[in-house]
């Protein structure tokens, strides 16, 4: 731009105009460069550091660790609201937010459908590992707002038949992370596709038969998750059965030789009530006796008075072993906890129900389902040939030569299933078209190798593929138990179905309570700060010991300005 005049006669003519244009361009470029230089030089970024974040995170983690290892851990962690208030008062410069994950809330709001409140004996409070969950019941109406409930409890009779609009509402309820527990005898009249979609039930009435083995019900599940590693069974093991004890009437009671101030009562279990007595041997009530033959005579047989159970001792009942947890003051009651082998009875459903692919059996009868009359351990063999069957492109190694067969061992709907073997560099694989869609890539259809278990309906077969790939032996390995309760975790929420229970027995009520606790949402925000925006989090897993294994995660967040 140097040498340019604001007004100059040299700028006349086409050449001068071009030169002037270039000078103007230089000026513009120079102005832009100067602008960016000065703007950046005037507002240089200050050096940032993560001091606040790191120091707060470190001290927060140290605090949580110290609390967890301190002698006060149990009492402080027992009530997360109090724990958060204590923490808040220590961390003055920031607000504390605490979220408990994996532990039932202090208060659980249960909505009763279809409004049968009062017709059953519902449980009010559940204590486990020193934490009490208070359960509050309200009648619920699916034509109204149900978002305020944590868990919906569907009970009968009459059986509740879910309609399409109701199913949509229940699905939305589950999508919000809530739970539904259904305690209804499932029959052909109230089973519909919504039961499959929401509760994971599959009607197997036409396909399965039942092999009767016993009357007991085992509690089992296969599924655990990090956010809630407890199964329904675990909750069941942690909930006490509280039996009221009274001064015995004599006769029929004979409690002469079991200690001073004896008191008697029953543990009401589905497999039968167990008559018990408690007495003082030391200074206070400290001994429990079991009336082994139900004659109210605690001297006959002799074991009735010789076998004395203190706190922590296990005794046998008609429903498996139970452990003495505590004696109430003045012998008013005794608390017992079920042991791992505890069993229930009376969980029988009229319809043959099995879990579908998205659900699992949480309790099963001793009775088993069958689709054949074969004995456990018996064999059948299929011969394979080169004649293609079904959609070979769905086999895992489509370029390999395959051999095919049809399993004709079973009646409908498991008749004429295709099977195909594949030889990959000497390793033999088998696929079975279980769902008979002529494809080999469905759920549970393989590929299987030698020794794998193939589930055909409720029957499980161990397979042995011949080295030639021309035959496969199926050995009946086991049969699935009849589902006594089915759990599912679809649509972000949880569901449990069980047939109608005996509402007067302590163990069946406890199983229902366990199901409600399991289905309840367990990510509870104890405290939320509102005005601070920056958040740092520390997570800590707590594993309280006591009634049952119950780890939970405390998500500790500090908000600061």
């Amino acid at each position: 731009m140097s040498g340019t005049y604001l007004c100059s006669s040299k700028m006349s003519g086409p050449g001068s105009r071009r030169k002037g244009f270039m000078h103007a361009l230089e000026g513009i470029i120079a102005a832009i460069v100067l602008f960016f230089y000065f703007s950046s030089a005037s507002f240089p970024p200050l050096q940032k550091n993560e001091w606040t974040y790191n120091s707060m995170k470190q001290s927060g983690a140290e605090y949580l660790n110290s609390i967890d290892r301190s002698d006060s851990a149990a009492s402080v962690n027992n009530d997360s609201r109090v724990s958060s208030k204590i923490t808040n008062s220590l961390f003055e410069s920031s607000d504390i937010s605490i979220i408990e994950r994996g532990v039932p809330p202090k208060e659980l709001i249960v909505g009763l459908l279809p409004g049968s409140y009062g017709s059953h004996n519902y449980f009010k409070n559940i204590s486990m590992n020193g934490r009490t969950t208070r359960i509050v019941y309200y009648t619920a109406d699916l034509s109204d707002d149900i978002s305020q409930f944590d868990v919906l409890l569907l009970t009968g009779p009459p059986a509740f038949v879910i309609t399409s609009p109701q199913a949509s509402k229940l699905k939305k309820f589950l999508l919000s992370g809530k739970g539904i527990v259904e305690v209804v005898n499932m029959t052909n009249s109230n089973y519909n596709s919504f039961q499959g979609d929401l509760f994971g039930l599959e009607n197997k009435d036409a396909a399965y038969e039942i092999t009767r083995i016993g009357d007991g019900v085992r509690l089992s599940e296969s599924m655990r998750s990090l956010s809630d590693p407890l199964k329904i069974h675990d909750y069941f093991l942690g909930i006490v059965i509280k039996s009221s004890m009274t001064t015995p009437a004599s006769p029929p009671y004979d409690v002469l030789y079991i200690g001073s101030s004896p008191r008697v009562g029953f543990i009401n279990l589905t497999a039968g009530s167990t008559s018990i007595a408690i007495a003082k041997i030391g200074g206070d009530y400290d001994s429990l006796y079991v009336d082994s033959n139900g004659d109210y005579n605690f001297s006959k047989p002799l074991e009735d008075r010789l076998l004395r159970y203190g706190v922590g001792s296990q005794f046998n009942t008609s429903s498996g072993n139970y452990t003495v947890k505590a004696f109430g003051p003045g012998g008013a009651y005794v608390e017992v906890l079920p042991s791992e082998n505890a069993r229930l009875a009376g969980f029988y459903n009229p319809l043959k129900i099995a879990p579908n692919e998205s659900s699992w059996t949480s309790a099963e009868q001793d009775n088993v389902y069958n689709i054949s009359s074969a004995e456990i351990g018996s064999l059948f063999t299929i011969a394979l040939s080169n004649t293609p069957l079904g959609d070979t492109s769905t086999l895992p190694y489509s370029v390999q030569p395959h051999k095919f067969s049809t399993i004709t061992q079973f009646a409908s709907p498991y008749n004429d299933m295709y099977a195909a073997s594949t030889n990959v560099s000497g390793t033999l694989f088998l696929n079975v078209d279980i769902n008979k869609d002529t494809k080999y890539n469905g759920a549970g259809e393989g590929p299987f190798v030698n020794g794998d278990i193939v589930g055909i309906g409720p029957e499980n077969y161990r397979i042995e593929i011949a080295e030639t790939g021309l035959s496969v032996k199926f050995k009946l390995y086991s049969r699935d138990g009849v589902s006594a309760a089915i759990a599912s975790a679809k649509y972000s929420g949880r569901t449990v179905w069980m047939p109608d229970i005996d509402w007067n027995d302590a163990d069946s009520l406890n199983y229902l309570a366990s199901a409600v606790l399991w289905a309840a949402p367990k990510d509870k925000e104890i405290y939320r700060a509102s005005e601070y925006h920056n958040i740092i989090s520390s997570k800590k897993v707590f594993i309280p010991s006591g009634d049952t294994f119950q780890p939970y995660v405390l998500d500790f967040s500090r908000r600061y300005q």
């Binding site: 140097s2 001290s59 301190s70 002698d71 008062s89």
Partner: protein, 227 residues
């Protein structure tokens, strides 16, 4: 062709003058606004860094696996409230600053508190009772409401009440009442095991670090102020 006028100013001159003004303004702005910001931030970062480093020195020296070692802690205990005119006080403080590698030009105030949590989970709006755990033993503790909120604590079954300090344990040790929950659900008790160094000057830039560890089965809090 037009004649040049005498008062005509060269564009170079205008631009040069503008650039000169800009340079002067920038230098003034920088010296008044930018450099102090940098200096303050640098000083602030130094304080934070040094305070954290000193807290690390303390934790490294006295803590093993998250638990405060009693014998290591005893080395800090002679340092009490700082008195410049007391040679013993100065020596004890110098001993602590040496252990924490504090430069002669800087100062620290170091406190170490043992905290007890009294959980008062039974009772009513007037009085609530519960327990406090000290040295693995459980002792009864109560809080009561003499105003619009819970404000007093008792550890002798309600025989005496205090808003400042209570005795806990056998033999009894005095704990300061740090906090009584307004709703009476808990109370925080504190025993200050040492309070070392001069008072923190209120106008001096400083950095505060709090660290937590376990001491005799209770949560302990170390607070270090560096300036």
């Amino acid at each position: 062709m037009k004649n040049k006028l005498k008062a005509q100013i060269k564009f170079d001159f205008i631009l040069g003058f503008f650039l000169f003004l800009l340079a002067v303004s920038y230098i003034s702005y920088s010296s008044l606004q930018l450099f102090p910001k940098y200096a303050a931030q640098s000083s602030d970062n130094d304080l934070k860094l040094e305070s954290w480093r000193a807290s690390e020195e303390f934790m490294r020296f006295s803590e093993k696996n998250g638990v405060i070692d009693e014998s290591s802690l005893n080395l800090f205990r002679p340092c009490v409230r700082y008195n410049y005119n007391d040679a013993g006080s100065r020596a004890a403080y110098a001993n602590v600053t040496n252990r924490l590698n504090i430069s002669d030009l800087s100062s620290v105030h170091l406190t170490f508190d043992m905290l007890l949590f009294g959980i008062t989970n039974t009772g009513n709006n007037i009085r609530r009772d519960g327990n406090v755990i000290f040295l693995k033993n459980q002792y009864p503790i109560s809080v009561r409401n003499t105003s619009t909120y819970f404000n007093q604590v008792s550890t002798d079954g309600g025989a005496s009440w205090s808003t400042t300090a209570v005795n806990v344990g056998v033999p009894p040790e005095t704990f300061e009442i740090l906090k009584v929950d307004y709703d009476g659900e808990f109370t925080l008790l504190r025993k200050r095991l040492f309070d070392c160094g001069p008072n923190v000057p209120s106008l001096a830039p400083n950095s505060v670090v709090r660290r937590y560890a376990l001491y005799n089965g209770s949560v302990a809090m170390m607070e270090l102020t560096y300036w």
